[in-house]
Symmetry: C2
């Protein structure tokens, strides 16, 4: 029952309704109860009498109350929110990762605050600072290169952090990923095993993961008594970069009978180039990609590619992070989730 003792009270109510967003107090006033009961209605409805529950539900609906998490953020209790920083918003690798993360956060009633860094540690620093200012309970980062300030901030923030996708040399806290160098080594060894000798590494956007794959590639070549040869561009990788890099490789080196591409974008671009130029894959040129994206399987022949378990990495990362947030002690701080291959035909 709305209790209005005088006209000015009503006026104040109307005014509040017009200008400010409704608060718990507004709902409570309207029903002649305290905001605590309304708060309980949201947090633990079973503790509110059914009749009251009904009244509140109606008042909440008519007032259009929207939860305000600001006060809760001020208390030291958990915000039930984790921050996720991905490098790019147009890469299936990270969208699958976030999908994995969300299967866990949804079932655990955690929220995600998402930010993207554009592969730039300075931007990552800024975004992490923003996420910390929202009092997130934990962070999932997809890169392992961080500014000094980022490392200091994270140390002082005192929240759990998962670095994922890769196994960093200097982990901040926990790690869920795979060994890109080992994967590259294995992939190139496969190419060599199928009698390719003049394998070139195609690389773009020279970040750490690209470098690690290069190391694996070079090790596999040296161990087989072959000479590693690389063409690289600092630009963002793309299909057209893949075409250009293959062209450049063929121009630069006497013989090329295989290419190991740092990702599927380059590999597909390169295969396009082969199609256009009449180079037969895999007879004239073996092609190995990295990531195992859908597009590789539409190629003729199908692209052979290293598959990274990105959804599983997302799931494991979120699981681990939330467990630690909830006070569990993890069995380990590092999880290597390995890799596999697409069933392609571009190798031999």
């Amino acid at each position: 029952m709305l209790r209005v003792t005088c006209l000015s009270d009503l006026f104040v109510h109307l005014l509040t309704f017009m200008t400010n967003r409704a608060s718990l107090q507004d709902i409570a006033d309207q029903l002649g109860i305290t905001k605590m009961t309304v708060s309980r209605y949201f947090r633990s409805p079973e503790k509110v009498a059914p009749a009251t529950r009904e009244k509140i539900a109606q008042a909440v609906k008519s007032a259009g109350y929207i939860h305000n998490r600001a006060p809760a953020l001020m208390s030291k209790s958990l915000s039930h929110t984790i921050g996720v920083v991905i490098p790019s918003l147009s890469n299936q690798v990270f969208s699958a990762l976030v999908d994995g993360i969300e299967t866990i956060t949804n079932s655990e009633s955690f929220d995600i605050l998402l930010a993207h860094s554009g592969y730039d540690p300075k931007v990552e620093e800024r975004k992490i600072e923003m996420l910390l200012s929202y009092q997130v309970d934990g962070l999932i980062l997809c890169e392992t290169e961080h500014t000094d300030r980022t490392r200091t901030m994270l140390k002082q923030a005192g929240i759990p952090v998962v670095e994922c996708m890769e196994l960093p040399e200097a982990p901040i806290d926990m790690v869920v990923g795979l060994d890109h160098k080992a994967a590259a080594f294995n992939a190139v060894s496969r190419m060599i095993a199928s009698n390719k000798q003049h394998i070139v590494y195609l690389a773009a956007r020279l970040d750490r993961r690209t470098m690690l794959r290069q190391q694996g590639y070079e090790q596999a070549m040296w161990e087989a008594g072959l000479t590693p040869q690389t063409v690289a561009t600092p630009f963002q990788s793309s299909f057209s970069q893949g075409m250009k890099l293959l062209q450049q490789a063929l121009d630069t080196f006497d013989r090329v009978d295989g290419i190991f591409c740092t990702n599927d974008d380059l590999a597909v671009g390169a295969m396009q180039y082969c199609n256009n130029e009449g180079i037969r894959v895999p007879d004239d040129l073996a092609v190995m990609g990295y990531n195992g994206l859908d597009i590789g399987l539409t190629m003729q022949p199908k692209l052979t590619s290293v598959v990274t378990p990105r959804q599983a990495i997302g799931i494991k990362s979120a699981r681990l992070l939330i467990d630690v947030i909830n006070g569990k002690v993890p069995s380990d701080k590092l999880f290597d989730l390995g890799y596999s291959y697409t069933e392609g035909e571009s190798l031999s």
Copy 2:
């Protein structure tokens, strides 16, 4: 100068430092000043004496203070944050859009809270509710289908909203986009003008934009006295879907001499299929894509595609939203930013 009157004071300081994150008060106590001065150091440093500034800078650094926006969110003042909901995290269209948005937010010192809906209005509703709970000053949405509850919430939230990419029938507030039906009509008319008569529309993920393009396609066909024919799948579009849909079109219809694809993923998949099957583009089959992504230009022949000005849409959306947040009255509530074409060769 650190003023510690007794040992227990020091102990409390240490304890605070160990367990809780440093607050403005902690910094102030350490320096024997009030937190207000420290707050000013962050908000308007020019109002703090240089000597004090120096001291605070040092204390802030050693304490590892990280700004906490929770209290500010409780005041009715602006949070200088806008929420952005995109449908997908692996689509160049939306990453370019966000890039555009960020050029503006960066220069205006606004932060972005990002969420993704997976093209699902129910998920969009949840994400919007979350963003509102963080007291964002405005919202940019990339879809025009919303649940009833979303519309109610947004009305009651009383913040400006920009719907972008499209021109909705029932706009919530402001709109920045383009007319997909008109673009499709124009694109198909071009195909007809280059003497194609049996043009099939290839569609996936049957959302509103897909439908609008279908309407434009059908209108163009009818007006030219031709019969529209569509093959569609409810699944997410992908390169392999493009292959399948073209195959299906060729199986289903007697003659097909052109395809209009709802996006470049399908178009590229379809062109792959042509490459694989020896269908000549554009002589046997004209192909028109939609979005103008990089990959289209690596094809042989280059894909002709409708280019949507997504970066410009992002810039305009953010500009408009922030202007309104800052109290300006916009000259208009709807901005149609048009479309253009890639210089492709897949048409004629």
